[in-house]
Structures are given as C-alpha cells and as structure tokens.
Amino acid sequence: MTPGIEHFLTVGALLFCLGLAISLSKRNAIGVLMGVELMLNAVNLTLITFSRFAASPNPVSGHTFVVFILTVAAAEAAVALALAVAVYRNRETIDVDRLNLLRS
C-alpha cells in the first residue's frame, strides 16, 4: 500500500497537536519554542501534501508558502533566543512560571 494524502494529513495533524500540547505545557521558554517549531513544520508538511496531491490550479503556491514559513521561523527563533538570553541575564531563569514581575 502506498501512502496517500490522508496518511500525510494525519501525520501533519498529529504533529501539530503534539506541538501545541508541548508549547502550552512546557515551563521552559526554549521548550515552548521547540513546540512552536514542531507546529510550523506540521503546517509545512500539510501545505506540501496539499500541493502534491490535491488537484489545485496553482500547486506552486503551496511550495512557495513553505519556503516563506521556513525563513520567517528562522527569524523568529533568532529573536526568541536573543530575548531568552536577555531575560536570563536579568533573572537567571527562563522558566515561564517564574517570570512573574508583571502583575497588578
């Protein structure tokens, strides 16, 4: 049996849910970021699947989308790590539960 569109989409959906669960449950800021990266890659897989299998008038736009998502994710990760370093310098922790200076 060759894998079809439904297999790829299922993997994509599972990866996305896993990433969402990780990013909502991890206490470490870097862990949250890894969850986000997993979600973005699930989106990429879904987009590639759709442009490969579905009879779409313009399959290239799915591929184009993926390239842009990869680029933006890299930029976002760079900023996230920089901010994590800045927080660590000030607080010596990047545990999001202990970042509690901001309250009423």
């Binding site: 989409l9 986000v36 979600m39 900023v79 901010l83 000030n90």
Partner: protein, 485 residues
C-alpha cells in the same frame, strides 16, 4: 515597474529605516535629527499614497497578491499617522535611554512598513509575511527597555505570538488545501463552486484564523498577554502595539472574512463567533480594568474592551449589501477614532510617567494643578474612550451599534451599551483623581515640545472629528464600498 509604484509608500518607509541606520553610523554627533529623518520617510509615504488618490486608478499587482484600493489607502494613512505620533512621543524617552537610538527608529519604521503592506495584502502568503514583518520588530521593541520587566514582556509576547501565528498558518494551510489557491477572491470563488461539501474542514480553518487574528486584536480568550506586555514594555511601544497591530488585524480580518469566507453557509458561523467574542471581551475587559491600580494595565484591559466594540461591527458584516457597508465603515471609523484617542491618552501617560516615575493611578492625584495641559489632554481622551459627545469616540460607538441593530444583533448592542456605562466608572475615575485629588508636590511641570505637538494633534483630531464627523465617515464609507462590489 508598476508594482514598485504601487508599493511606493511601503518601500519609502523601509528606505527611511535604512537611511536612519546609515545616518547614525556616518554622523554619530547628529543623533537628535534621527527622529526627523524617520518622520520625513513617513511624510514621503503619505505623499505617495496621496498621489495615488489623485491619480484615482487603483489596481492589483504581483499576480493579484497586492491590491491598492481606497480601503488600503485609508489604512495606509492611519498607519502613517499612528507611527508619526509614536515617533514624536518616543523622542524624550529615547534620548533619556541614550543607547541604540537609530535601531529603535528603524524598528518602528519596519513595523509601519509591515502594517501598510498588510492593508493591501490580498493573498494568504502576503498576509502572513506582512503580519510577521510587523510582529517580529514589535517583539524586539517590547523587550527594548533595560529592566527585567521589559525583557520579560518581550519574551512573553513573542512566545504567545508565535503560538498564535502557528494556529493562523494551520488555518491558512487547510484553506489552501480545500480551495487550491491562496488569493482571497479565488478562494471565495472556489468555495462558491463546491466548498459546501468541505464544510467541516472550512469551519476548522475559520476557527484557527479567528484564533490567529484574535491574538493580534487582543480579544478574549487571546488577551492574556495584553496587560503584562503593556505594563512591561516601554510606554511608547505599548502605545504603538495598542493601536497599530490591533488596527491592522481588523483591516485584514474584514478582507479575509468578507472577501474569502463570505459564502452564506460560513458567514453566519463566523458572525456568531465574533458576536460571542465581542460580548465576552467587552464584559471581561471592562471588569478587569476596574480593579487595576496601574494605569498601563488599565489601558491594556480597556483596549481588550475596545476590541470587543470593534468586533460588534465585525459580527454585523456577514450580510452583503448595505449592512456590510454600514458595519465595515463603522469598524473603520472606530479604528481611526480609537487611533486618535488611545494614542492621545498614551502620549499623556508617557509624559506624566517620565516625570513622576510611576504608573500608579493613585500617583496621578492633583495632576490638574501640577500640569494642567497634560491632565486636560488625558481627561479629554478618556472621555472619548468612554464614548461621550462631543468626541469622536461617541460617533464611532453610535455608528457601530447602529450597524449591529440593522444586522439584528440587538442583544449585543444592549451588552455594549451596558459596558459603556461600566467603562465610564474607571475612565472617569482617573479623571476624578487628576482633578479632585491633592497633588503630592506643588512643583509644576511642562510637557516637552514633541509631546505637546503629539498630544495637541491627537486631541485636536478627537475634538474636530467629534464635532464634524462627516469627512471621516464618508472616507470610511468610500473605503469599504470597493469591497462590497
């Protein structure tokens, strides 16, 4: 070449960002001129936009991914004005901070370019790029301050923002999968042609899109970042995000939901979701704002409540025709009114908090005696946020609520009006403290020239459009009529 002409305003803002960076490196002794260089870039952008209004031939470029119509033009003016006010209000703070001045202005201009691009984006990829172009510099700006609070605010904003944009992207991917295209009008055509059989998938995609945009709009249940980021970020940056990214999210949401997901079997769903979110945002935002003792947190929750008011308009646009025009132009009017009003309030808060070194509402006591100009400006903007005439905030609320009544959402309007009464309690509470409280010190102080210009301009806008709302209303109407066709 035509495409470059259409993108002229965005390009000139980005060029100005580059020029500011280079000028700082070449002439380090002339740092005081950097903000004026940035303002010159924004002026060029506004003039370029005006030249398109004069030429009047609006068009779609880059294979339909970017559109320049009256709708985009309206928001380009709003964003240029918002950014200019933020830059004016930042000058004192940046000078006092003393470091990395050119980078600050360059990042603010980059955000502005992203917001302007978003106004004309008509394609899912372009929307995503523009959204991130405006978001990533905002994450950096939120963490710009030296203290631990600011970097904490930046990190929280980024992590939650990244999760929200992942949700948005998954929604976009599903939408692409069902329709096979990323261009909004083609999506609408594909849904019209046979999308009803994929209804479940479309509803999931729609919900994910609402989550993604809802984060930028700062509505319940995606509001948890708002008070923290507003409190921790430098005040000029908080002013920028409270107006800029919120306005942009509504600009793009009207386009996506009406232009791409306007099919009857979907629009009743998203209209209902927006109505519920609107009611919850208004109520929760107002109730939480009452108990705040920090004015920036209070303005944060108040912006959640105001976003609920915008959503009342968004819930009312599900029917094409006159209802759409009323609702959408109501949102545009509200966006412009809110931009004037909230920026004015923030400008006054920036000046006062720099002087008294505190954001506590209790410390605003007697501000009327120590700084009458700032107190009057802040009080006037708070009155407009409440929605009391003769301010532009009154007309904005009236217009949006009228649209909701026309769309049979009377229950929502009742909740909205009740919430206006609740909001009066905390907005006017600040006014009462400022005018009736006893000042801690008798020492008077003046606002700096740049703050005075920014506050006078915004307050004049609030008053002028409060007395003569017609020009703004007809501009908003003209802007949305291009979408209705």
């Amino acid at each position: 070449m035509n495409g470059i002409d259409v993108l002229g305003p965005q390009i000139s803002v980005l060029v100005a960002a580059g020029v500011v960076l280079v000028a700082d490196a070449l002439f380090p002794g002339q740092r005081r001129l950097l903000p004026f260089l940035a303002l010159a870039g924004l002026l060029t952008a506004a003039l370029w936009t005006t030249s398109w209004v004069g030429r009047g031939d609006y068009q779609t470029v880059f294979d339909g991914t970017i559109v320049l119509d009256r709708y985009a033009v309206f928001f380009q003016y709003v964003f240029a004005g918002v950014t200019a006010t933020v830059i004016l209000a930042s000058i004192d703070w940046v000078n006092r901070e003393g470091r990395r001045q050119s980078e600050y202005y360059a990042l603010v201009l980059t955000v502005c370019a992203g917001l302007m691009l978003l106004a004309g984006a008509r394609d899912l990829i372009t929307i995503f790029i523009a959204l991130e172009l405006s978001s990533i510099p905002q994450y950096i700006l939120a963490g710009w301050g030296k203290d631990a609070k600011s970097s904490e605010a930046g990190l929280k904003y980024l992590l939650l923002g990244a999760v929200a944009s992942s949700l948005l992207l998954y929604g976009m991917a599903l939408l692409y999968g069902v329709t096979g295209t990323t261009i909004l009008p083609e999506i609408a055509a594909a849904i019209e042609a046979g999308g009803e059989s994929y209804r479940a998938l479309l509803v999931v995609a729609m919900t994910l899109l609402i989550a993604g945009f809802g984060f930028k709009m700062a509505v319940v249940p995606f509001q948890m970042w708002v008070p923290d980021v507003y409190q921790g970020a430098p005040t000029p940056v908080a002013a920028f995000l409270s107006v800029g990214s919120k306005a942009a999210a509504f600009a793009v949401a009207i386009r996506v939901f009406f232009e791409a997901l306007g099919a009857d079997f979907l629009s009743s769903d998203w209209s209902m979701i927006f109505a519920v979110i609107a009611a919850v945002s208004m109520t929760l935002g107002n109730l939480m704002a009452i108990v705040q003792s920090d004015i920036k947190r209070m303005l944060g929750y108040s912006s959640v409540a105001q976003a609920g008011n915008f959503l009342v308009g968004l819930a009312a646009i599900s029917v094409a025709g006159e209802e759409f025009i009323l609702g959408a132009s109501g949102i545009l009017l509200f966006v412009a009114a809110y931009a004037f009003t909230n920026l004015g309030a923030f400008v006054a808060v920036i000046a006062i908090s720099q002087r008294i070194n505190s954001d506590r509402i209790a410390d605003y006591a007697g501000m009327w005696k120590t700084s009458p100009f700032l107190a009057l400006g802040l009080a006037f903007c708070l009155v407009s946020l409440t929605g009391i005439p003769p301010t532009v905030g009154f007309w904005a609320k009236l217009y949006v609520f009228n649209a909701a009544v026309r769309a049979d959402l009377v229950w929502l309007v009742v909740i909205g009006v009740l919430n206006s009464v609740v909001s009066a309690y905390y907005y006017l509470g600040v006014v009462r403290v400022m005018f009736l409280g006893e000042p801690g010190t008798e020492q008077r102080f003046r606002a700096s020239p740049s703050i005075a210009v920014a506050l006078t301009a915004t307050a004049a806008g609030v008053l002028l459009f409060g007395i003569l709302p017609m020009p703004l209303m007809s501009a908003a109407r003209d802007a949305v009529e291009v979408l209705a066709r």
